[in-house]
Amino acid sequence: MALALQQLINGLTLGAVYGLIAIGYTMVYGIIGMINFAHGDIYMVSAFIAVTVFTLLASFGISSVPLSLLVVLLVAVFFTSIYGWTVERTAYRPLRGSTRLAPLISAIGMSIFLQNMVQLTQGARVKPVAPVLVGGIDILTIDGFTVRLAYSQVLIVVVTVALMAGFTWLITKTSFGRQQRSCEQDRTMTALLGINVDRTISLTFMLGAALAAVAGVMVTVYYGVVDFFIGFVAGIKAFTAAVLGGIGSLPGAMLGGLLIGLIEAFWAAYLSAEYKDVATFTILILVLMFRPSGLLGRPEVEKV
C-alpha cells in the first residue's frame, strides 16, 4: 500500500515530464503531419543548458533556490526555443512538399547531429549536478516504509499544472492559438486568409521546444544527472505518450504522459525494473495495433 502510494507520486512526477515533451510531438504532428524525431534531443539540449546555468549561478554565489530556478528556467527556455526554431528552419522547412520519406530521414539526421554535437561540445560523460532542491515531506509511514513527497516532485507537478493552464489558454483563447489550430486543419486555406503559415509553424516549434526545455530543467533538478543520450529514450516514451493519448490532441498528450509515467513507475516497482522500457514500447505497439487514434484522438480517414 505504502509502496503503491509512493509509486503513484513518482509516476505522476515522471508522467508530468513525459507529458510536457509529448505536447511538442503532438503539436508538430498536428501542424505538419510528421514526427519530429529531434524533439527528444531538444529536451536533452535544454537539460545541458540547465546544468551549465545552475553551475554558473552557483559560481556567482547565488544560493536562493527560487531565484536560481527562475533564472535557469528562463535561460533554458530562451536558448532551447532558438534550437527548436533552427531545427525547423534547417531540417524541415526546405523539405515541405518533398517525398514522404525525406523529412523523416532529415529528422533522424538532425537527431544524430544534436546528440553528437552535445557529446563533442559538452563531453560524453554523465554530468552530476549539485542538488538544487533537497528535502521533502514525509506523508505517512506504514510498516516501516515511509512515503515521501520530495520538494522537487511538488515543483514538477506545480510547474506542469501551471504551464498546462497557461498553454490551454494560449491555444484556445489567443489569436496565435487560433492561427495554430487553423493551420492544423487546412494550411492552404489559412495561408489564403493572410496568415503567415511559416511563422505559425516556426512558433509551434519554438513553443514545443520551450515546453521540452521546462521538462529538461525539471529532470535535471529531479535526477541530478544528465548525459547526451537521455533524449533518445525520453523521446520515445514521450512519443508513446502522444500516441497513447491520440496524436494531434493536446489533452491527449498530457493524459498519455501521465499514464506512461504511472505504468512505468508501477511496472518498475512490481514487475521488473530492468524491463520498464520494454513495457513502454510494448504499449506503443499495442496502441498502434488496436487503437491507432489513441484515447482522445480522432480516427484518421485515409485521403484517397
Binding site: V301, E302, K303, V304
Partner: protein
C-alpha cells in the same frame, strides 16, 4: 423481353463522417458494357461514392453487389481495396492522378499486372531462376502493356519516367494502367480534367471503344459536360450525397432538379451546357 441483370447494383448506400452525411441512401444500377455517368456539383459525394465502391471507405450502411460472370455475386463493401481490384475486377483511377512517378510508363503498366505475374513467379522462386513459365508470363504481360500503350498512343513514351510526362498524358497512362488489371468495371474519376479539347474528344472515342468493343462497363465521374453528355448511356446526378435525378443524357439536360442544383433557383433559366462545366480539383473531399 426482360433487361439483363445489372453488373453492379448499389443499394441504400450511406456514408457518414462524424456529423457529415457524405452519401445519403444512394441506390444505383450499373449496366454491363455501358457507360454510366455520375455528375453533380463539387462536394456532392461523387469521389466518396467511388471510395465506397472500391474498398477505400467502408460505407456506414448499404450494400454494393457485383455480378461477376465467373465468381458469382461479390459484396464489394466487404472487400479490402486490393481485393476489389483483384477478385471483383473493379478498377479505378484517381481525381488527382496517382502514378508511380519515378517508374517508367511501361513499368507502371507491368505493376498493374502484379498478381498474375507474382503467381507465375511462384513466390519469386521461378522468377529468380528464370524458369520458362515465368518468362512466358512476363512476355505476355509485356504484350498486354504494349498493346494498351499502342491503343492509347503512348508507345513512344514507354521507357520514360511517368512523372516526367505532361498532365494529359499522365491521365491516359493512368487509364492504360487500370486497363492492364483487366477490369469488368472501370471507375474513372474526372478523366477529362485538365485535358485540352482535342485530348477530350480522343478520350470520348476511347471510352466508347472500351465499352462497345472491349465490353468494359464504365462508371464515369466528370465535370466536363461535353464528355459526359456525349458518351454516357445513363447518367446519375448527385447533390449533397443524394441522388436527385437519373436517366439518359437528354432526360438529365431537361431535369429541373438538376438545373436547380447546378445554378441555384434564380439562375436556373440561364442554363447553358458549358456553364455546367467546372474546374475539377477543387473538390474539397479530394484536396490533400
Amino acid at each position: 423481353m426482360s433487361a439483363p441483370p445489372p453488373l453492379l447494383s448499389v443499394e441504400r448506400l450511406t456514408m457518414r463522417f462524424g456529423g457529415l452525411l457524405a452519401i445519403d441512401d444512394l441506390s444505383l444500377d450499373v449496366a454491363a458494357r455501358k457507360i454510366t455517368g455520375v455528375i453533380g456539383p463539387n462536394g456532392a459525394g461523387k469521389t466518396t461514392f467511388f471510395n465506397c465502391l472500391t474498398g477505400f471507405y467502408k460505407p456506414t450502411v448499404g450494400s454494393v453487389r457485383l455480378n461477376h460472370p465467373q465468381r458469382g455475386v461479390l459484396r464489394l463493401e466487404q472487400l479490402a481495396s486490393h481485393q476489389v481490384a483483384r477478385s471483383a475486377q473493379v478498377v479505378r483511377t484517381f481525381q488527382n492522378i496517382r502514378l508511380f512517378p519515378q517508374m517508367t510508363v511501361l513499368e507502371n503498366l507491368i505493376v498493374a499486372q502484379h498478381n498474375a505475374l507474382q503467381h507465375a513467379s511462384r513466390f519469386s522462386l521461378a522468377g529468380l531462376l528464370g524458369l520458362p513459365g515465368y518468362r512466358r508470363a512476363e512476355a505476355a504481360a509485356m504484350d498486354k502493356a504494349v498493346g494498351w500503350l499502342q491503343r492509347l498512343g503512348l508507345l513512344d513514351k514507354a521507357d520514360t519516367a511517368a512523372g516526367a510526362l505532361p498532365y494529359g498524358m499522365q491521365r491516359r497512362i493512368e487509364i492504360a494502367r487500370a486497363l492492364c488489371v483487366d477490369p469488368l468495371l472501370l471507375c474513372l474519376d474526372e478523366p477529362a480534367a485538365g485535358l485540352n479539347p482535342r485530348e477530350s474528344s480522343e478520350l470520348n472515342e476511347l471510352l466508347k471503344h472500351l465499352a462497345s468493343v472491349e465490353g468494359i462497363a464504365i462508371l464515369l465521374i466528370e465535370h466536363d459536360m461535353s464528355v459526359v453528355m456525349n458518351v454516357s448511356d445513363h447518367i446519375c446526378v448527385l447533390n449533397y450525397g443524394r441522388k436527385i435525378a437519373e436517366g439518359t443524357p437528354a432526360d438529365i439536360q431537361k431535369d429541373p432538379n438538376v438545373i436547380k442544383a447546378y445554378l441555384g433557383e434564380e439562375d436556373a433559366d440561364e442554363l447553358r451546357a458549358d456553364e455546367m462545366r467546372t474546374d475539377a480539383p477543387t473538390d474539397p473531399e479530394a484536396v490533400r
